[in-house]
Symmetry: C2
Subunit: 445 residues, 2 copies
């Protein structure tokens, strides 16, 4: 076992304490603090931004994180094997803290490497969470459940419905906030879906992912989790948001509105960006700072309005030079109810598509326009092409994200089959998907 | 006529001179400078960042920009009508300056408002250019031609071929650089197309657009044009680049590599961003600063290798939750040669598409992967979904932009019908479309 492996995940004060006691991963140790002694196997801990906890597996199989204080004593009492992760009973919880339910749907944040096999496995029991991130026990009383375990690219609208219903159930049971662990690939789509499905929320619903798995030193899993639990337990807003790193380097976590957030980098910890508006809040050192006054307030007396249905017969179509108009015809022939176009610039597409657009609208299909620029606002009154499309009946979606527009139209056709009602809903600002004005400095915010 | 209208476009020194002489737009004036006197109608000038030129329409119908010096005298000699823009003979040109050909394809930069009718019309004759931006006469000897006049959303690969052939002809005729005025909507696609079509360039080819039309005070048309002409005439590189504003407020123009540039805002002057690498150069106050050492050098002795053909049977498909796998089948059935996928994150798509992908690849269709994140690099070895797709034969395109990947595959099938040769070309870095590493700070650069 190399020196590097021995200190796996420990750093700063905790690493020093281990070194000083000449302890290696897998050794049996006893830790004495406040006249209590804990004995167990020292298990690896990835780099979570915390230098103060040492994690051991007790004889019961239970993992515990012990915070170092000046009078904590650590002793090696035996030499053990590298630990395996057995099924363990739930940890003791402090009472009086806000109740937070963590719903796991899969993805990097919900998985961890089994050090014995190297395999990545879903591991979001409350117990696992406390052993990975013992700080959580001081923030909230956590109830964790695995709803399913999917890479998020495999998540479909049916899963959005499942998640929405599960959230509703947990809120009814008295949760003070809901955290959803989710793969980052389609996190933005699911966040938008829940924003429409969960109306009049009494408590916050926060989606959290991680860009680097918990076994990597650069993992953002724990910092994102700690921040997200803090916000979900304490924030004044009851909104669907996404909690992710603000920059690649620091510990500020940004809370993005579910309808205005997008994954804008394949690998960076700060991949998620709020587009065309300000984020809802930021959190640094457990301090929440609101970034806007426009939010729905947390009120436990509010009654959730659950609208969990989606219709998959809606398409997102990105325009490109010489795209075949027959693709639009194909969607018409296959019973699609709506098409969200990702046009160019202010909301344009090649005029060779106009005939097919006209036909689709004649068939009562909703055609809506967004921009592949991503940032900025649609304005179809500036050029002839835009005005022609408006005349054909194409609906301009202002500054709405293409992905949010897709999800919204799927959600709308889960509520109604009436085209006129659907159009009205599409134009109504339901969950902050439209913002009033485009901020001047938004690219890369 | 309001005071605001009277000073239309003039500011600073030029505005002061006009006010002092009590002159209004449309008045007949005489300007004496260096013992020469010019008489004509004062015509409007939009805000181009220059405070030193006064533009008059001479009796001949010819527009001339006169630079103010301490001994320039201005006098009102009569009261005229608001001017119209008649056909005018070409301006006198200075000799000894680099020869620059401006090819107009349409778009905002190539159009101007007729103050008589308010209509926007294409107006990129050399004469019009000198009357709009007299500064150009000091930078280069300009030859301007209108190739076509299209809103860029209507431009197709056939137009890319036309542009490439026209550029080749002008280079053969001895141009020291080529400027292409183009609508901004699909400017990035055309830039990528020309990057592949024009190989071993002896001189620079620069695409330039404007986000605001020349009749608006915030227009970027003239600053972009002046910078682009300066670069095309003097730059040490012979590359296909895009010249656009760096920030919303200043006069720095960025030169983006044609294969790495994308329109990222619907309306801002700095809408264009270099993605996943550094721009090639910047220009401020006519000073060009290189941003990289990796470029092809200007050498008039090089022989252009023209490869202007594109095959339209290539599609770009953006993945979204529950996208119908039959859309892939449809492309196979309709004779498509290749599909560029815009997957999620590191290069994933839902596993419900795998069967259709398999079938397509069996039919000898190239399936290539890019990311809808836009920023960052594909890595399909991290998760099972990625590894499965690699096993099926999907080609990962590293940090290539989805739009560039589409154009490249269209270009490849314009060169060969052999799938193996096509794959090899796709994996070869031909025009800087792959960059070696992803820079750490690229979102929103």
């Amino acid at each position: 076992m190399s020196g590097k492996e021995e200190s796996l995940g420990y750093k700063g004060e905790a690493l020093e304490a281990i070194k000083k006691a000449n302890i290696k991963i897998g050794d049996i140790i006893s830790i004495t603090k406040n006249q209590e002694t804990y004995e167990g196997i020292l298990i690896p801990r990835s780099e979570y931004g915390d230098e103060k906890h040492i994690v051991i597996k007790l004889k019961s199989g239970y993992n515990i994180g012990i915070r170092l204080t000046p009078n904590t004593k650590i002793q090696k009492t035996g030499t053990g094997k590298k630990p395996t992760y057995a099924q363990t009973p739930p940890p003791k919880q402090k009472t009086g803290l806000p109740k937070v339910t963590i719903i796991s749907t899969g993805g990097t944040i919900a998985s961890r490497v089994d050090y014995r096999t190297g395999a990545v496995r879903p591991a979001l029991t409350a117990n696992d969470l406390y052993s990975i991130v013992p700080e959580l026990a001081n923030i909230a009383q956590i109830d964790a459940q695995i709803l399913f375990s999917l890479f998020s690219e495999n998540i479909t609208p049916k899963n959005w419905t499942q998640i929405a219903k599960t959230v509703a159930k947990q809120i009814k049971k008295g949760a003070d906030g809901i955290l959803i662990a989710h793969g980052t690939d389609t996190l933005g789509y699911t966040a938008a879906a829940l924003s429409f499905a969960l109306q009049n929320l009494p408590v916050p619903v926060i989606l959290v992912g991680s860009q680097r798995s918990a076994d990597r030193p650069s993992s953002d899993a724990a910092t994102n989790l700690i921040a997200a639990v803090t916000v979900v337990a304490n924030a004044p807003f009851a909104e669907v948001t996404v909690a992710m790193h603000e920059t690649p380097s620091d510990n500020t976590i940004t809370l993005h509105r579910g309808t205005k957030v997008r994954k804008c980098h394949t690998s960076r910890r700060d991949a998620f960006k709020t587009i065309n508006t300000t984020p809802i809040a930021k959190i640094q050192n457990q301090k929440i700072t609101m970034q806007t006054n426009e939010y729905n307030k947390r009120k436990s007396k509010k009654t959730l309005n659950l609208k969990p249905n989606f219709n998959q017969k809606v398409a997102l179509l990105k325009f490109y030079p010489s795209i075949n108009p027959k693709i639009i015809d194909w969607h018409v022939e296959n019973g699609y109810k709506g098409i969200v176009l990702e046009g160019t610039g202010l909301g344009h597409i090649g005029n060779y598509l106009f005939e097919s657009i006209k036909k689709a609208i004649k068939h009562n299909i909703i055609i809506a326009m967004t921009s592949q620029c991503i940032w900025g606002r649609i304005n179809m009154n500036v050029y002839n092409s835009g005005r022609d499309l408006l005349a054909l009946g194409v609906i301009p979606l202002e500054d709405m994200l293409p992905e949010t527009a897709l999800v919204k139209l799927m959600w709308i056709f889960g509520q109604t089959t009436n085209t006129e009602k659907a159009k009205k809903l599409l134009k109504t600002n339901i969950a902050g998907e439209y913002s009033k004005r485009t901020l001047p400095d938004e690219i890369g915010n």
